[in-house]
């Protein structure tokens, strides 16, 4: 029998985390990456659930026995409670007696509460999670914490690995990392891309913040062949922000090997979005390589918009293509995903 009919469900907390320096107010439901939990906690401890239930009516109560304190000072026993209906924002529903957790706690007067809400707020104390949390608890802000996070990117534990990725773009000192660490971030991106892991967007953003042109060589093949799936737009935006010159060169080296009109169309989307003359050479190569008229028209239009003289194209494409390109080169009203301001 289903027992959860018609319960209320608080839903959809933010993934990403911020404000390690700030102390959230008691009622706030903060994000739940491990770095954020540790960063905002008064007490970080390893605790075992010794009793579940028997709270006041409508409340679910969990009694934790603190087995080790990694940060701060905690009593031996902490009692947590929350409304018993299920849903996101609730942390205690999945807790079973005997399980061991990493408890990131905040003082509320004489009592303690979890730093964040939601099921991710009380992570199971696996060996890998504990080791990572221990490292976070002792690392200072800035480069030491970044080192812990980057080391965690290749963890076998999905929670550790994903949470480290989520935390990276929020570190203002990220650009100061060294070459090895940059390579580690790019390697993590290479692993996340085919898996479409939930840390992927953050890794892409981190590479963007780093201006890491090596990431282009990781993202570009996946973007061009369509295997990036729902992340296609994300990758395009990131590559364009990282280094347009490097992107243009990478595209130029691939133009002749693009296997289908669809791949050429994706290449064109990138080239069309570039500023100025960096796109000219690959665009000219695309005009020569593409058999399909649509790509040739679009590529010629991009060249005209970029300031290429028509005379450069006149001998390369037939007059009808050039005519169409001339029309297509005129400013076009942008198209939007959701709004229709026409």
């Amino acid at each position: 029998m289903l027992t959860f009919l018609h319960t209320r469900v608080p839903v959809l907390s933010l993934w990403v985390v911020a404000m390690a320096a700030a102390r959230p107010a008691a009622s706030q439901d903060e994000a739940s990456a491990l770095a954020s939990l540790v960063g905002r906690a008064d007490v970080v401890s390893l605790a075992r659930a010794v009793r579940v239930g028997d709270g006041t009516p409508g409340q679910l109560q969990v009694v934790l026995r603190i087995e080790e304190t990694l940060l701060g000072t905690a009593p031996a026993i902490v009692t947590l409670s929350e409304p018993e209906e299920r849903g996101c924002g609730r942390a205690l529903l999945a807790v079973a007696t005997g399980q061991r957790f990493v408890a990131c706690l905040r003082r509320q007067g004489e009592n303690f509460a979890l730093v964040a809400a939601g099921a991710r707020a009380l992570p199971l104390a696996t060996a890998t999670v504990v080791a990572h949390v221990r490292a976070l608890a002792t690392a200072a802000a800035g480069m030491p914490r970044l080192t812990v996070l980057i080391d965690a990117l290749d963890s076998d534990d999905a929670r550790v690995c994903t949470d480290a990725a989520l935390a990276l773009p929020l570190e203002p000192t990220l650009p100061a990392i060294g070459a090895d660490q940059r390579a580690a971030v790019v390697a993590a991106l290479r692993r996340a891309l085919p898996a479409r892991s939930r840390g992927l967007p953050s890794l892409v953003v981190a590479c963007t913040h780093l201006g890491e042109s090596a990431a282009i060589e990781v993202m570009l093949p996946s973007y061009l062949d369509g295997s990036s799936g729902p992340a296609e737009r994300l990758l395009a935006t990131a590559m364009l922000q990282i280094d347009q010159g490097a992107l243009a060169r990478a595209l130029g080296a691939r133009i002749d090997r693009l296997a289908s009109p669809l791949e050429r169309a994706r290449a064109l989307t990138l080239l069309d979005a570039m500023d100025g003359v960096v796109a000219r050479a690959p665009l000219q190569a695309l005009v020569r390589a593409a058999a399909e008229r649509g790509t040739r028209v679009r590529a010629c239009a991009c060249l005209l918009r970029n300031g290429a003289p028509e005379s450069d194209l006149a001998g390369v494409v037939e007059p009808a293509v050039l005519d169409s390109a001339r029309q297509a080169a005129k400013p076009q009203r942008p198209r939007f995903r959701s709004i229709r301001p026409e």
Binding site: L5, P83, A231, P334, I339
Partner: protein, 1001 residues
């Protein structure tokens, strides 16, 4: 009577009490029966007046009849309203009649002679909760006894200096009946009373364009007249033009001499004794000005041949018809005189320069004869992309083959638009229609005879018109084919065969080694055998010997009338030709094949409960080594039925792509309840077999209380709420912080921005439920949910608050303050048992909280700026006042840029920049918030039930997707970059549940 808003609130309150007590069964709104579920919407059966009616009495009431008993409360001015055609509102009272199935609309007053529109919104509903689902408009015109009147003419009576080459425009004060416009009611005459033929075109209903076929003479008087009275023009109501119009005008002088442009036949040609030479001018000429000396046909012996002059309607072309056949073997000369005594144009200007042409009269006086017709005469099942062509026994004169002499007509006699081409060394005529022909329609190809018709190069014409009939196939879709090996493929295994998969069965008699064949690149044929397989959906060519290693081959699948045809008769437009190169080995690696239901991932594909039909069986294949999977080899076997569909029967009805087969079980193949297993397999082009893991599922009779929708579910998105009590709606609070609106609204842009953002958010939510931006269904994949941003009166509906901060967090927070991190909260309603969830309360705080997203993103920006600029900051640094931006409404050009109809192309670069800055930010915000809205509404229709199928939808303890993917709508958490950059979608089983292709226990 429909459930009211108050009822909904009461139910929601009961819920909370039950929930706090440990959960309880829902009440109301549920069906609980074992009745199989179908989604039905309300239908309008009849209306009076009917759409496009005229002469509707001004004291009429309007009447509508539906197929359900309507809810009285839904008959609000927002749902049923009357306007003039110009858009002015008309007050009207509505009432129910006919046992509630009929609606009477009584206008306060209808003006005579006025066009009206009766509008029905999609939210007109019946007592079963069904909504009309789509907008409807009924147009009519009231009693009109006023005759139409001419309100303007481009030429006035007594006007002089009128352009003799221009057309004339007559404008009337109301729309006219098109049938009343002809040469008897609108005409042009010269001063002698002779009609001057004109083309008459009705534009926009009330403008008549009069275009003389021939040029007018210069400095000449003409009369343009419109007939009134009993035989005059009429309006749509039949009222005749009371007062005719007559303008006598004089054209401008014309002193320019005409020019002779062309003489036919060309010089020195051997012509037919029956030839009729033609002379062509740059303007209309006067045939009556031709004297015996001005145009003369004389033979070598100075015999003069009398000529009859025939002019085409434009009088640019004169045809010279000898009174008798010319004698064979003689030389003839046509002299067209110039200067004094020459023919003149219509203004009397004399031809300046003449010409002299000479021909020899030959023996050929036989007209061209048709020797071949495609399609054959009275052919049936002709493909819709046919290009009819005829072959004659001799070359034709190219000037005689044109759209006037070769015409393709449909069954009603209408001319099919297209090009007429001369082909095959000028012996063929091909008609290329602009668009595909209509299915199951008879067409006639007409080749005109006589002087205006087709002729051979000697000038022999067809004696009469030729007509060739054929009938188009009864199939609106043209064949599509997957032909493998792919064009340009390399390293193709040497033991490969050729595979062609069509989207519908082919006519086996058209598949042979003449239509599907292989050769080397230099044309050496490859011996092989062709077979039609898979119920006619596929053909294979199997070489008798292995292919040569490292060799280029050319694979051809014939298209066109002599190529492979579908059973319906349709054929490929052109040949499909692939070139590929073989590798150096045979292929021994088997492909991988997997099968699933409802496109579910492997983790979730076992043990589903599905309805008897409507769900999909999906097979996926990969041949990673050489990408050489053969899609004609998909085998799907349904185990559990004594006499179920065979693999070929399934294949024949499935959608097949290069690496996937998908079969949506149709209603007429519904499976009886029971346990089933699916086995699937496939082979690569070398015949290596891959087999899928078997999938088990159960077919059950769906119960109404176990599926989410019995009818289209209405969701009212509440952007009007002011839950923080600051005197302004929470939705507008958000937009103010973001810089989309501005206090005081100095440039009047606020409301437009509010409308754009609100519509954009709803459009994104609709999109995620597979509906159009406006909410219209887009096919059987659309989920039965329709959002509206105004109160849907009378229909049971869900409400959800949209705007502001999390009500459970401190209220008075602004830029720089902490976010609660919660973007939304909604009731979970298993199976969507309640149609009226109220997600608008403050305790618990329910709804969508964009304000929290703003605070959170602002805090990240404050943390990382200026080291980085986040995606959010990249947009809102331009706009948000707290971030130093310029809010919409404070920029100099904002009123222009934001206005509807802003001309982006002609705008200044600064205006374009501002437009981009405003609307790219708006689009991203609307996208992000729309996804959150869809997520919350997803909870309130039963997502994501906990546990594996069939008890759950692989939801986790928090009722979100367990192990969610990066772009799953029902993921437990999201990030702003993900929201704006990824293509979000509901996960496989979530979508199957919403589409009712999966039944939960």
């Amino acid at each position: 009577m429909g459930r009211t808003t108050r009822d909904v609130a009461a139910l929601a309150a009961c819920w909370l009490v039950a929930a706090c007590g440990g959960g309880g069964a829902g009440t109301g709104g549920s069906n609980g029966s074992d009745t199989p579920v179908t989604i039905g919407d309300l239908a309008l059966l009849e209306s009076s007046p009917a759409d496009d009616a005229v002469q509707v009495a001004v004291d009429s009431s309007l009447w509508l009849r539906f197929d359900g008993v309507l809810v009285r409360d839904c008959l609000t001015p927002e749902n049923v309203w009357l306007t003039t055609a110009a858009g002015s509102a008309v007050a009207a009272a509505t009432s129910l009649a006919g046992a509630g199935r009929e609606v009477t609309i009584t206008p306060s007053a209808l003006a005579p002679e006025t066009d009206y529109e009766l509008h029905l919104s999609p939210f007109v509903c019946d007592t079963n909760g069904r909504i009309l689902a789509d907008s409807r408009t009924i147009r009519f015109r009231t009693l009109d006894q006023r005759p139409p009147a001419l309100s303007g003419a481009s030429v006035a009576d007594a006007q002089t200096g009128v352009d003799r080459l221009a057309n004339f425009v007559l404008t009337f004060d109301e729309a006219l009946a098109p049938a009343s416009i002809d040469a008897t009611t609108v005409y042009l005459r010269d001063v002698f009373g002779s009609d001057y033929p004109c083309a008459l075109t009705l534009v926009d209903g009330y403008r008549v364009v009069v275009d003389p076929l021939a040029d007018l003479a210069g400095n000449r008087r003409y009369v343009l007249a419109v007939a009134g009275g009993a035989r005059g023009l009429t309006d749509r109501a039949g009222n005749v033009l009371a007062q005719g119009f007559r303008a006598t005008f004089t054209t401008a002088p014309d002193t320019t001499a005409p020019l002779l442009q062309e003489v036919w036949p060309p010089q020195e040609l051997v012509i037919s004794p029956l030839a009729r030479p033609e002379i062509v001018f740059n303007e209309s000429v006067d045939p009556a000005s031709i004297e015996p000396n001005s145009v003369a046909l004389v033979d070598d012996f100075s015999n003069v041949y009398p000529l009859r002059i025939a002019a085409d309607p434009s009088k640019h072309r004169l045809r010279l018809v000898p009174s008798s056949p010319l004698p064979k073997g003689v030389g003839v000369r046509l002299s067209v005189a110039g200067g004094a005594g020459a023919l003149t144009d219509l203004s009397g200007n004399t031809l300046g320069s003449g010409s002299l042409s000479r021909w020899t009269v030959g023996n050929d006086d036989a007209p061209p004869a048709v020797v071949q017709v495609h399609p054959a005469i009275d052919a049936e099942r002709v493909s819709l992309n046919v290009r009819p062509h005829l072959t004659f026994d001799e070359p034709l004169d190219s000037a005689s083959v044109h759209a006037g002499s070769v015409v393709l007509r449909d069954a009603q006699g209408g001319v099919v638009a297209g090009a007429v081409l001369l082909t095959a060394g000028a012996t063929g005529i091909e008609v290329v229609p602009t668009a595909n022909l209509r299915r199951a329609t008879t067409y006639t190809l007409v080749v005109r005879g006589g002087g205006d018709g087709v002729r051979d190069r000697a000038g022999n014409t067809l004696s009469t018109d030729l007509e060739f009939r054929f009938r188009a196939a009864d199939d609106a879709t043209l064949p599509e084919v997957i032909l493998l090996p792919a064009d340009g493929a390399t390293a193709v295994p040497t033991d490969s065969h050729v595979s062609a998969v069509f989207d519908s069965p082919v006519d086996a008699s058209t598949v042979s080694t003449d239509t599907l064949f292989l050769s080397t690149r230099n044309g050496t044929p490859v011996a092989g055998d062709v077979e039609v397989v898979r119920g006619g959906r596929a053909a294979r060519f199997t070489p008798r010997s292995p292919l040569l290693a490292g060799t280029w081959y050319r694979l051809t699948l014939r298209g066109g009338i002599d190529g492979v045809r579908e059973i319906s008769g349709n054929w490929l437009g052109v040949d499909e030709v692939h070139e590929f190169r073989t590798g150096f080995d045979a292929d021994i690696q088997a492909p991988t094949v997997r099968v699933s239901l409802n496109a579910a991932a492997d983790l979730r594909k076992q043990g589903m409960q599905v309805p008897a039909s409507g769900f999909t069986i999906d097979v996926y294949a990969q041949d990673p080594g050489n990408y050489a999977f053969d899609p004609s080899s998909f085998e799907v076997t349904l185990l559990g039925l004594e006499s179920g569909p065979t693999a070929d029967q399934i294949y024949a009805l499935a959608t097949v792509t290069r690496d996937r087969l998908s079969w949506r079980v149709p209603t007429d193949r519904a499976l009886p309840p029971g346990e089933y297993r699916i086995r699937a397999a496939g082979r690569d082009l070398s015949g290596n077999l891959g087999e899928a893991e078997t999938v088990s599922f159960t077919v059950v009779a769906p119960r109404a209380d176990k599926v989410p929708f019995e009818r289209t579910h209405v969701v009212w998105v509440r952007t009007d709420l002011d839950r923080d009590g600051n005197g302004r709606s929470d939705f507008v609070d958000d937009l103010t912080k973001l810089g989309f609106v501005i206090d005081g609204d100095p440039r009047g842009t606020n409301q437009r921005m509010i409308d754009i953002l609100r519509a954009g958010i709803v459009a994104q939510a609709h999109h995620l439920f597979d509906r159009s931006a406006s909410g219209a269904a887009q096919g059987d994949g659309s989920v039965a949910i329709r959002f509206t941003d105004r109160r849907p009166a009378g229909v049971a509906h869900m409400q959800i608050a949209l705007g502001g901060l999390d009500p459970e967090a401190p209220r008075q927070r602004d830029y720089g303050d902490e976010s609660s991190g919660v973007l939304g909260r909604a009731f979970f309603d298993a199976y969507n048992r309640q149609t009226n969830d109220l997600n608008i309360g403050t305790n618990p705080g329910l709804g969508v909280f964009p304000g929290e997203l703003f605070l959170f993103q602002a805090s990240i920006h404050r943390r990382v700026y200026p080291a980085f600029i986040t995606s959010f900051a990249r947009r809102f640094l331009n706009l948000a006042p707290a971030m130093g931006g310029t809010p919409v409404g404070s920029g100099d050009d904002d009123a222009i840029v934001v206005a509807a109809g802003f001309d982006y192309v002609r705008a200044t670069s600064e205006q374009r920049l501002r437009y981009d800055a405003i609307f790219r930010a708006a689009d991203e915000w609307a996208t992000a918030v729309g996804i959150v809205l869809a997520h919350e509404v997803g909870h309130s229709v039963g997502l994501v039930a906990e546990g594996p199928s069939p008890l759950g939808l692989y939801g986790d303890a928090s009722l979100h997707d367990e192990a969610a993917g990066v772009a799953d709508v029902m993921a437990p958490a999201v990030g702003y970059d993900s929201l704006i950059q990824l293509d979000y979608a509901f996960r496989d089983l979530d979508l199957a549940y919403l589409r009712q292709r999966l039944i939960l226990k």
